[in-house]
Symmetry: C2
Subunit: 597 residues, 2 copies
Amino acid sequence: MSEYRAPLKDMQFLLHEVFQVEHLWSQLPELAELIDKDTANAILEEGAKLTTEVIAPLNRNSDEQGAVWKNGEVTTPDGFKKAYQLYCDGGWGSLSGDADFGGMGMPKMLQAAFEEMTQSASISFALYPMLTAGACLALAAHASTAMKTTYLENMYSGIWSGTMCLTEPHSGSDLGIMTSKAEENNDGSFSVSGTKIFITGGEHDLTENIIHLVLAKIPGAPVGPRGISMFVVPKFLVNSDGSLGERNTVTCGSIEHKMGIKGSATSVMNFDGAKGFLVGEQNKGLNYMFTMMNYERLGMGIQGIGATEVSYQQAVAYAHDRLQGRSATGAQNSDKAADPLIVHPDVRRMLLTMRSLNEAGRCFSTYVAKQLDLVKYSDNVEEKTKAEHLVALLTPVAKAFLTDMSYDNCGLGQMVFGGHGYVREWGQEQLIRDVRIAQIYEGTNGIQSLDLLGRKVVASKGQLFGVYQKEISQFIETHQANEALSAFIKPLQLSLTKLTELTETLLSNTQQDKNLVGASATDYLAVFGYVSYAYMWAMMAEKSLAKTEQDDFYQAKLYVGQFYLQRILPRIDSHIQAIAAGSEPLMAMPADLFIGP
Amino acid sequence: MSEYRAPLKDMQFLLHEVFQVEHLWSQLPELAELIDKDTANAILEEGAKLTTEVIAPLNRNSDEQGAVWKNGEVTTPDGFKKAYQLYCDGGWGSLSGDADFGGMGMPKMLQAAFEEMTQSASISFALYPMLTAGACLALAAHASTAMKTTYLENMYSGIWSGTMCLTEPHSGSDLGIMTSKAEENNDGSFSVSGTKIFITGGEHDLTENIIHLVLAKIPGAPVGPRGISMFVVPKFLVNSDGSLGERNTVTCGSIEHKMGIKGSATSVMNFDGAKGFLVGEQNKGLNYMFTMMNYERLGMGIQGIGATEVSYQQAVAYAHDRLQGRSATGAQNSDKAADPLIVHPDVRRMLLTMRSLNEAGRCFSTYVAKQLDLVKYSDNVEEKTKAEHLVALLTPVAKAFLTDMSYDNCGLGQMVFGGHGYVREWGQEQLIRDVRIAQIYEGTNGIQSLDLLGRKVVASKGQLFGVYQKEISQFIETHQANEALSAFIKPLQLSLTKLTELTETLLSNTQQDKNLVGASATDYLAVFGYVSYAYMWAMMAEKSLAKTEQDDFYQAKLYVGQFYLQRILPRIDSHIQAIAAGSEPLMAMPADLFIGP
């Protein structure tokens, strides 16, 4: 397995040239003094060292060895403990944490770049701090000051970790039917009972304490999702002086044996009257959890980018090294028995597909991170509101589209290796197995697509979509006269028109056909994603055009972007046609006929 | 993991109703006396018993346990030996073997159905007899009578197995650069030396002897693929009385650790002056191997169908059992906390995608098997020639399109299970890992697409395509007046026109752009596959229309077929657009710019 190199140059291009963060940050009071271009670059370079030199080398073994459960305890793979210590020592757990409680308060745009490197290095490893960061976010947003004081600092520092306990054996996508119970004690604490499954990092040996955020129902609460509350249930109770107290009655019953992310402990957690503390108000747990989920969902998209980056780097190296066949236009390497794979158009198709989707994906996740930063830091109401709308609209796209593309991309990377890609030692097949989960957890991509089309587009009567559509239209208008950019602007304009028409058609038809949202959602999200990537490519091209003489990097951007627009973007037409067929072809067949002959 | 049920009803529908084998076989002299409808059905039912009751239960453990190499010996997973014995006792290894040498001489159409069941039961297990069957085919077609007498009977009976030794560490898709050598001995035998990798069943504990078919170069032979000869290299030399003699100098150096098919021993074979016997003439080895490869390639497609069938059966059962969420049109299951997954349009989309592609795939593989039977058994020159053309044209499609669809389908099956699909015990993730190899081995699907477009369509100047196009056109013409069938005929006609135009455009442009074949091949094969499936659905619908009152089975065919035409077939338009962009977007970027920033 070849080494991972952090794509710092592309990350810096996005931050400094495409999104011009120095200007952006200088406008945001909390960031203006905190960070500038040099600091950002220095942080990324340090992040690159940690992830490439310390974490990445552990990844292959972590798959072979896996996390191991024994008598309720979980041992993480060799090296994870030491790497985690270095991660914490470097302050990486606090990077974007709340500055009032020990965090560094750095913007999400920077955090996102560092997260990508961590995911590239090892998805199994990255999940441990990722869940902690998400739990911190939920607490920072919704917990009382006392609770934040008790937990946040140790979680930012990484001495303690966090989890998110939602799923139950019979309750996954449908959280409203969960049965975990929380009964109030005399002292205002709660006794939490129930079984939670698929809990990432539910038990492990990396930290002194594990802070579980648990969803459960208080007896008498409303039926369904509106009756769910959130509780902090620490593995070890915390004394009033902050020291660790009694072991709580929460135990890890087992860990799952999975397709991938074998170094990540996916735990069955049994809460047996465990002592818990209500976060915020009763019955608002699901809303609170969404604070965390939205964070995690962008993180899943970033996980996808990280995996594809590694797959691409390895595949491209192999395509240059491996000699097989001859170029159709005559030998390129006539002193050797064969030409390198890179001469073959079909190999280039696979590599360019991976790269054009992944560079657009990185741009898109940075764009969404920018919106998150504006929501958090902007004091301009209009700007903040627009950013809130974009976050709501784009989060399901960032989660589902990026991970769908990444799974396919890692498949292409494996295919470049042929049979060698199927053999474990090369690492390509592990990327597929690891990144596959990103399409499934934190709400399956099917659920994301329903969120996008149902809850975001249709429920807002197109308002959220309008915000995005308007921004892209303005970009097009601004650059319409730029002849040099027209090969990017024209396809963007055409595809945006198609997406807008599709959206309008769906908005007017969903009333009379209740199944139309469900029948269209997955294809709609794909169209939305591809058009968004066309927007990303147009933005990147606009910043690259003038600099092609200066650096091949910019020339490559134009080549890869053109490949995207000409060979990938046409995929939207098939999705649009599939949607146009309506829900009838899906709903007509009686359920019992699905059972095959 | 739920049980596998053999889809006998669908198989019988294809054989007896769609392709009317009783009539077909009665016209073919060698088959007329051998087999009729009842015999065929009895064979399939026996095959179903063996595969569902004996082989399928071994599959899950075979993945966990794997084949194990120790000191050059390979132990297959628990139960494989006993199951293999029952397989041999049932005569399954000889099913379509040459009757002059101990085979049963049954048609490929029947063999294909049995093969699918074996692949559904366990791909790892199925590979052992599959490679033997392919080796037998190459020997039956090209070896001398003496050689056939020596080897075939014991291979049909399963006492001995066979392999195909092509790939070398530096020579995979490009076999012309192989370096394995075969030097002639005084007695007319050869000394074969070299290392072969990725040899399925190269070593194992199932049989008394292993007959390797090895490609190697005789010193002085022409450079490249025209200098390759084929040799029989038995693990144990065979004495003139047929008994086993000396151990040959071929050894298994190791087996690969792979993404899937862990129960199949993928071996590194070292030939160290091993005694080998030339098959047929010198330097024709690659042609001979293609006899076997073509057989294996259809077999790979069938492997894909087998995997999807299991994934679908399990996913559909889960979609009926698992209660999650409510129907968009109101509760369907109001006495329970939630409705079954099957009420959700997006779940139906996944299931119908799997089923519509897989039933078309089964029809297509039966159709290709029919052509193989006509090539073998027909004494009508015109019919035989047409069938030869169709086999040449459709083999790469059967290999690549069926396996591409199957990998995606098994992904959908896993997704229906959500997080449970990612956990090993449910078996869904194993199907993905196992079936993935089918896209890679026996010539990657990229190689298949080059074979289709380059060697079959373009090299024949469209002649082979014309044979197929004409047949479909005739079908359309025959049924044009059938109003009830028009929902099937119209989309078929429209898509065939698009495929024909695409083919003509490519035929006229490949001369001036040498990279156009490579740049278009993968997308072309996809369009070809989807249009072929539209043809299959029209054929199946035509036989189902009149019987919908008689049996739900026929009604389901119409629903599933309509889903295919309305929601899947539109995919061709995106592929056609991608091809229309030409090779420029692929070839423009200099090779060194592929290395990322």
